[in-house]
Subunit: 666 residues, 2 copies
């Protein structure tokens, strides 16, 4: 019954050899890998405005104009990070996630920190994206008769998470077919919206709404945890930190290089450039539009929804819905990418014995099902705890992201240093050879010298340039990380700052358990075992066919070393048993144990203890006669003594337990 329910939800199993490996063209790869990054434009601008609102509420009417410099700052960071990741693509054509890059170059500990950061990041990506997607939908219903959906954000979030989780348990692929439509629709709709906004702004200068004065807007929303205050460098940095959510997901392409068509690294590089360019345009464009149109962050409607409502009206009114729906769709897709990434990373960690090995099992549909389930549960808990509000989740978000950026970029610096050292060694040999030639005073081109000078020069200059690029990336992301923690610590970042070391501790203790088990189970040093000598105990509840077949079985193991044990609960019954024993005891010794407290299990266990102590190296086997009713509910009509005993024996060291079933009919 449970099995057929599972079939219905998850689908029939897929054979192992059907695991497909689609190769993606640049266009589809852009759709597949960039939904996470691009979708963050749906909320990044709003998150900046939410912090600036604290100063606006304090009466500084120009506070919101700071969204422009802050956005440009973030866009600059974005370009730096994107350029850095192009280096990673070059160096790790087989896929360079932060866990692998950090572990390879900075050691296991750094790898684990990156792994923990990423796991946390993936969970938050799901929560934030789904919350933002739901906000896009509920914004659309403001002013309609479905406005009340706004009160059920958490339920809507949980519904979407469950939906995506089931789709992933069924083994939805990161296929172009699925991603291309929504991603390109969103791109087109969003870019059109920004362009239309520009044109509309200059065409209808009168249509720009006058902003409500500070204190006159009851709907004005300020970022959670911020009190009304004047503009300060700290507030601006807070706005900047919030906006850094725009960078999340930018690393996706460098993780997925092997999925590209040949030449993989080149295609991935080009795609990353395109994605960064689009992301910059869309994010900065949104911020500029929000500024031009005086859109303020509101409680029940997103900034983008407000802006789109202003510019799309009359015959263009329908386009508002296009924007909202494509926004919601790409946010759901963004969550979906975490459902591919989290289980994959969990599997890597499990394979390296840092997470329970169950994460490395492929389910019926070839999916790492346990990872999918755990991700759904934790992201669901998060959304519930934070009331399905994107802005309350943001302070937790970027810690993991920027920590993994920093570790990954630092790892790359180390990578190039190692490569440089290798090149220098090679170069020195080649140089020595040349010098020797020079000493002879003759300049000959040696044909079998494999070192092409030009190529060598290029390689040498390349690794140096790479160190600079990744070094800048590492420093920039590290500085942002520090700024982020400093500005967001009390707003929630502390949770993640605490959680990551705890996760690392967990990874390490899991690892040491597995190492210890492997050591204990190792055949290393195992000597030839002596032949086994048996001591067999058969607990009996009376004499019946089930008991007799168990006795026969026991005798077949150790003809001379079988003891039947009976618990005396009732004098009369015991007397009868003794009488029958001569006929049916098949020559086995009978031991009757007293049980003053009417317990069956305790006297038996202490008897087994005694036998075991006496037995030294002999193997003690308890043979349990067990009759199995024809129907499961008939078990209710029988004492579950053999079950109880089995449970109790589970914790006894070195006891072998054998069930000899006697199956009843009807």
């Amino acid at each position: 019954m449970v099995a057929s329910l599972k079939r219905w939800v998850v689908g029939t199993p897929i054979r192992t050899e059907h695991a497909a490996h689609e190769r993606l063209s640049r266009k589809t790869a852009l759709a597949v890998f960039s939904s996470d990054a691009l979708s963050s434009t749906a909320y990044a601008t709003e998150e900046i405005l939410l912090v600036l609102a604290a100063a606006y509420a304090a009466g500084q009417t120009a506070a919101f104009s700071k969204v422009i410099p802050v956005s440009i700052g973030i866009a600059t960071l974005l370009v730096i990070v994107a350029i850095s990741y192009r280096q990673t693509i070059r160096a790790y054509p087989s896929g360079g996630g932060a866990y692998i890059v950090a572990k390879d170059n900075l050691g296991t500990m750094a790898g684990l920190i990156a792994g923990a950061s990423l796991l946390v990041d993936y969970i938050l990506t799901v929560s934030v994206s789904i919350a933002a997607g739901v906000a896009a939908l509920t914004s659309m219903f403001q002013g309609t008769r479905f406005y009340w959906l706004d009160d059920h954000k958490v339920a809507l979030c949980l519904f979407f998470i469950a939906f995506i989780a089931v789709a992933n348990l069924r083994g939805v692929r990161e296929s172009g077919a699925l991603f291309a439509g929504p991603t390109y629709a969103f791109l087109v709709a969003f870019i059109f919206m920004i362009a239309y906004g520009f044109v509309h702004y200059y065409a209808n200068p009168g249509s720009i709404p006058t902003p409500l004065a500070p204190g006159q807007d009851p709907e004005l929303k300020i970022a959670e945890g911020y009190i009304i205050q004047s503009l300060s460098i700290f507030l601006i940095l807070g706005a900047f930190s919030n906006g850094c959510a725009a960078l999340t997901g930018i690393e996706a392409i460098s993780n997925g290089v092997p999925a590209f068509k040949q030449p993989e690294a080149h295609n991935a590089s080009v795609t990353l450039t395109w994605m960064a360019a689009l992301l910059t345009i869309m994010f900065v464009g949104t911020s500029v539009m929000a500024y031009l149109y005086n859109v303020h962050p509101h409680e029940h409607e997103t900034v983008i929804s407000q802006f789109a409502r202003i510019i799309f009206h009359g015959p263009m009114g329908w386009f508002y819905y296009v924007v909202q729906i494509t926004t919601a769709a790409i946010l759901v897709l963004a969550a979906n990418t975490s459902f591919a990434d989290f289980p994959r990373l969990a599997q890597l960690l499990a394979r390296d014995r840092f997470l329970p090995r169950q994460f490395a099992n492929r389910g019926d549909r070839l999916v790492f099902s346990n990872g999918v389930i755990i991700l759904a549960v934790f992201s669901g808990l998060l959304v519930t705890a934070f009331g399905g509000d994107t802005s309350r989740l943001i302070p937790l978000y970027a810690v993991g992201v920027f920590l993994s950026f920093t570790l990954s970029q630092t790892g790359m610096v180390r990578h190039w240093l190692k490569e440089g050292a290798a090149l220098r060694r090679k170069g020195r040999i080649a140089g020595a050879h040349k010098e020797a030639l020079n000493e002879e005073g003759v300049k000959i081109k040696v044909a079998d010298n494999p070192v092409d000078e030009a190529e060598e020069k290029e390689e040498a200059s390349h690794w140096k340039k790479s160190i600079v690029i990744n070094g800048v990336g590492a420093i920039a992301t590290f500085v942002v990380l520090v700024v982020f923690i400093a500005t967001k610590f009390i707003h929630g970042a502390w949770v993640v700052v605490l959680l990551i070391p705890l996760l690392v501790l967990l990874f390490r203790s899991i690892h040491s358990h597995y190492v210890e088990v492997a050591k204990q189970l190792s055949t290393e040093g195992l000597e030839k075992l002596r032949p086994i000598k048996h001591e067999v105990i058969v607990p009996i509840s009376g004499i019946h066919r089930g008991v007799i077949s168990a006795l026969e079985y026991a005798k077949s193991i150790a003809p001379e070393h079988v003891t039947a044990v009976y618990i005396d609960l009732d004098e009369e019954a015991t007397r009868k048993l003794r009488e029958k024993w001569d006929q049916w005891g098949v020559g086995v010794k009978l031991v009757v144990l007293a049980s003053p407290y009417r317990s069956l299990v305790r006297p038996l266990l202490s008897y087994i203890d005694r036998v075991e102590r006496r037995a030294h190296d002999d193997v003690v086997t308890v043979v349990l006669p067990e009759f199995v009713p024809a129907r499961w509910w008939q078990n209710l009509l029988h004492n579950q003594n053999s079950l109880l005993l089995k449970g109790a024996l589970l914790f006894k060291k070195g006891i072998v337990v054998t069930n000899v079933p006697y199956h009843l009919e009807h």
Copy 2:
């Protein structure tokens, strides 16, 4: 952990030989056995008034005066039943419950019907008594600042039920010490109340409250299911049926004869007479008082509470609280008697194989714990379903009681008929002997004739008189049963009318299951078993110490018939295993199974199937290597494959499963 929680709630185990058998004097026996019967005076009068209220509300101001004839009718019935039960005491000095009497004299079916009726009756006794006890308490709080307790009747009821259940699981005894205090306090308080009411009535004629006219009393409560209507014979019979709740518990003494001091039957008889007399006085007295003082049934206060409030005031005001508290206390004791009776009857039924045998197990404290738990659960469900309202439970109550009365009395008639037949046979022999003497014309007293004429006469007249008494009892209770069902069927009696046959069906199907099992397990006709030939399968997940010791164990059972089975999930791992097998396979044959769907269990099961089909009469044993981590939570870090496999093998016929544990350290 669970064990120590259980210790704390239930207490430490008691040794079997400590089962004490207290013998009760008449005075303590009256306390122990009559709490159920006497306590019903707390609600019986009110239940009559509730029905009459339907006519009062219709404008018939004299309707409540009918409480007097109805109560006298019930008292008459009470006397008949009490006299009948004196016969049972005589005939069954070892305790004659309805189940035993009906089964002995009318056959198993009648016994089962009586048994089912009694079980239902006991559950309802708990529910009704606790609900009435809680009503006595909440009435007391009317007009105080604890009036809101009235809205939490169900919670209070559940609390008391849980309290009594735990006390019984701890093995509270039906001891004089426990019962005597509250029972005699209640007796004294109640009888004093009635007597004081009488005196008060004639001393202060002005103090009688004028009854509110029909329609002017917003608090007036009418029995559930009754519409406002004129007095009719049907309404009177309904009131009579409701009042019959007063008779419940009257059979308790006849069940408990062996607990009396010697001469048991005589002492029991005397006690029964006392109980019946007290019950009659208290019940009729209450009805008369309710009539004299114009007390009408109300929603939030019991009739007795209202009456006691009227008469006890000024310096006697404190006595009101004495009445309410002793009433609540005896009602809790009444529920407690069911907690002794239900498990005892369930044990009798289980012993006769009509209920699961678990009901016959004595728990740690020598109590039939399962019966206690089941009773608490069902009575708790009932109180909850009926909102803790006594009057809504009453229509379900008396069906079981009067059905068991009728069966018991009919059984007694049959008993006396059989005894009469036996006497007549004896008498005929004696008579023939005497006639022979008469023919000789000589009247001699034959010394060795054991038949004493006077004694014989007395015996003969006794069994005839007994037939009449029990016959009248049987007819009376049967008529009341019919009246009850006719008047209360739609008000809830149908539930019990339906439930009793269903229970009987359940008893019978449980019985036939046990009979079938006994037949199948019987050693009858069992021939000498042939020596066992083994076929042993060892599923392995790789090569480690745990696997090797399992292989060694398997070889010790059947050196030549062991097969190790490995599931191929990964080519590389399989290749490595094959390589290691030569060194560590201890000469055992290795079978590698393909698993296209990555399942471990399914290919193994079908392999075992194939082996079993090939094996014919050989015994197939699956030896499961199992490593047991040192701490339970470490299980989370390991695939539970051997557990899964064990579960799956449970449903395979004829497979012996052996666990060879390998215990890990730390």
